[in-house]
Symmetry: C2
Subunit: 457 residues, 2 copies
């Protein structure tokens, strides 16, 4: 047991030089987004009011790889490559023959994977002469990442933070301000969108997106930045999976299953897509499975319908082909604020629809039970979002014990929980709730999906 | 500028195999601690009520190196080796020809260098059959580190947390509880020591130490653990400096000045002592300087007297030869709770006394100004304690600019500030105070130093 390797590290020269664009390897053509005005396929022009051209080109690219600009790779060096860690202590606690590996993205300054996309978004906007980025944030991971990225590239940053998270995580707000960002509680009275949603005081990602898009679209020198869902965000995150492939090679193993939590899908895509591309190309284990873990209180992939829907609550964004609970469904205020989203990345949804990726929904209390087991063995206190992946990974490891199989499990630990300790307090005190998914509410929201869009199911 | 290296990483095989014991290389014999009962030199027996034999042997060892037990090295692998980072963005902001490097200890689960000693202390106590460790904590860095270490080795952990920090940093308490620790606000009414200090509601490290020692000394199966000051704690921290020597070699540079913040002294000792030993042995730059940065509100090294004094406020510990402001001096409640200590490690004080190490005292607001500059260039939000070292490093870099010299500056970034954001809030709002050092108060406390001890000044 002595001198077993725990961490697999890469030096900076191993930061990927390209992002992986899975769309090139998926069978068939991707379904186009639709203009909210015409319901016709949206083109780059529909996005140019709020995104710079370079990001629009990434969004619609069908090339298998996109080169990472050198200043972005330089900024990635602040924390990348991130470690791959073998969870030996957790394995021993579980008494499982499984080998559990996790890729830890919490070493970034903002504490999660989100800067992987915040950096290139800030860089391309700064290069395009934009002065300010406006965005939404759930738990605050994205908003703090964008504030951090804007501080590096000399941009202003304005953040609409989901009300329930704003109240639960005051230090995330302080963090954004420390990096120079401005933060509003959403729904706010600063926008039409916010005022129209005043009856949902806990807010939601969908509402906060509406507010940010409204501000960006009506401003000359401001753009919008989205932390997940869109294809260019998934693209940026693929540095995670690419590094992991190199690190699992160092470990001399290959995963049987790749697990990530899913909110808007970019974390999951970032870890899984490079592995999935390998599998689609016939490399590696042919039986490799992919599992997205979402909250039982907001079960988009497991309970949603596959249809065209808006990315935001009010209906300002293009319509995207995705699993959705309805754009005006407001999920209950679970502590995993980053997973409280009615839809999911179209690219991820396409892989789920094609049967390439499975989804599981896990309730809040079992998720925190897993988080505690992890904290007390591996040391790292995980973000509630990331703990969904830990729950699914532990369930896999227990199944492996049951089956007596030495399965190799790889999961993404997307961030730390330093700003989520109020949730741990509640769990330890036995007062943490398991908010129920209101299926009737979602059904009603789904019935309100925009009509006149092409059927895709 | 493209592809410049930012981080210098070591793999796990480079975790040091031995700790560095500077005492073997210092001229003359170390001054012994004194028994509080007899004022005669204290022996191992004076410590055995609260420490296991293995740690006592480390405390009094005069060997130049002490082997690190294999289970401790295994636990170190959870986060060690830590990165050495070249602060290129900060250098550019300052327009300095200096090269600034920092060793970042905030990647540990608890967020600071403290687990370097918490791990071996928990390990040796567990091996000795102890069931529980009792300790004090200032800002919470040590208490959370010991809670984490106890969770790895199956020990209970009880923490007396300095009142002002307990109020300022509620999530540090949650963190300790997440790892299974029990936390009391100090001064508490659970101990005689605490009840005797009820007139100092903000508490101090000295008071919290008295409480923890009292509980440990009166319990059969509990021991005490100290997070700084003692020689075995400084010893454990020398993994920092040893790794840094290897990493500066990778960078192809050697520091002109080594800077660390000083509270009890273990962080500074951990970084500086391996470098200082090299210098004492005639290796490397002969002009290498060493600078300890302490808060102007608690200026132990710059304003204290060199004398025998208690380590705690009530007078339960052996008397130690050190710079002190008087054991019952209660420093004002600066946000750098980890630096609010009346004394300093005897081993560090001996190097200051011998002229090997310089000290500077920096006020709170300029410290946070430096912290903001650092956050907005290097990305990492530093702990207020660590920001004292940043202030001193920036001052060095500005002096180098003034002198037109390409100085190489190495400083220790001992931890992140994720639990200190209320202090950043106050700084950003312009309401952060610069608490004054009450020299008359310290003078009075110094006048109350125990009489009958040998003069050492």
């Amino acid at each position: 047991m002595a001198d077993e390797t725990t961490k697999y590290l890469l030096d900076e020269s191993r930061i990927p030089t390209h992002w992986v664009n899975l769309v090139a390897d998926l069978p068939g053509d991707p379904l186009p987004p639709l203009s909210p005005a015409t319901l016709q396929p949206a083109g780059p022009a529909d996005l140019s009011a709020i995104f710079p051209e370079a990001l629009i080109l990434q969004e619609v690219s069908t090339e298998p790889e996109v080169e990472i600009p050198e200043p972005v790779r330089e900024a990635y060096k602040i924390w990348r490559p991130t470690p791959l860690i073998r969870a030996r202590r957790l394995e021993r606690l579980l008494g499982t023959p499984a080998h559990i590996y996790y890729k830890y993205e919490g070493v970034s300054p903002a504490g999660s994977h989100k800067p992987n996309s915040a950096i290139p978004q800030a860089y391309e906007n700064a290069r395009a002469g934009v002065k300010k980025l406006v965005t939404e944030t759930g738990a605050g991971q994205w908003g703090s990442s964008l504030s951090f990225a804007c501080s590096l590239f000399g941009l202003e940053c304005e953040v609409f933070m989901v009300g329930s998270s704003y109240d639960q995580k005051p230090y995330r707000r302080s963090m954004m301000q420390t990096w120079g960002g401005t933060v509003h509680r959403s729904p706010s009275n600063l926008t039409e969108a916010g005022r129209s949603q005043a009856s949902h005081p806990t807010g939601s990602l969908g509402i906060a997106i509406s507010e940010a898009v409204e501000v960006a679209a009506s401003s000359e020198d401001a753009n919008y930045a989205l932390g997940s869902v869109l294809s260019h965000v998934c693209l940026h995150q693929t540095v995670i999976g690419q590094e992991t492939i190199a690190q699992m090679e160092m470990a001399g193993e290959e995963p049987d299953v790749v697990i990530g939590c899913v909110g808007g899908g970019s974390n999951f895509a970032g870890l899984a897509f490079p592995w999935l591309r390998r599998k689609l190309r016939g490399d590696g284990k042919s039986g490799m499975r992919f599992v997205g873990a979402e909250p039982a209180a907001c079960p988009t992939l497991t309970e949603g319908v596959y249809a065209y829907d808006f990315g935001d609550t009010v209906g300002l964004t293009p319509l995207m082909p995705m699993y959705t609970l309805g754009h005006d469904f407001v999920p209950p205020p679970v502590h995993a604020g980053g997973l409280r989203y009615h839809g999911d990345a179209p690219l991820l949804c396409a892989t789920v629809k094609a049967g390439l990726v499975d989804a599981v929904a896990v309730p809040q209390n079992p998720t925190f039970e897993a988080a505690l087991q992890f904290s007390r063995t591996e040391g790292i206190i995980p973000a509630p979002e990331s703990a969904h992946a830990i729950r699914a990974a532990i369930d896999e490891a227990l199944a492996a014990r049951e089956a007596g199989e030495e399965r190799v499990i790889l999961f993404g630990l997307s961030g730390h929980g330093h700003f989520d300790l109020a949730a741990y307090d509640a769990y330890l005190a036995g007062t943490l709730e398991d908010p129920r998914f209101d299926a009737a509410d979602a059904e009603a929201a789904i019935a309100r999906l925009p009509s006149g869009t092409p059927a895709i199911a």
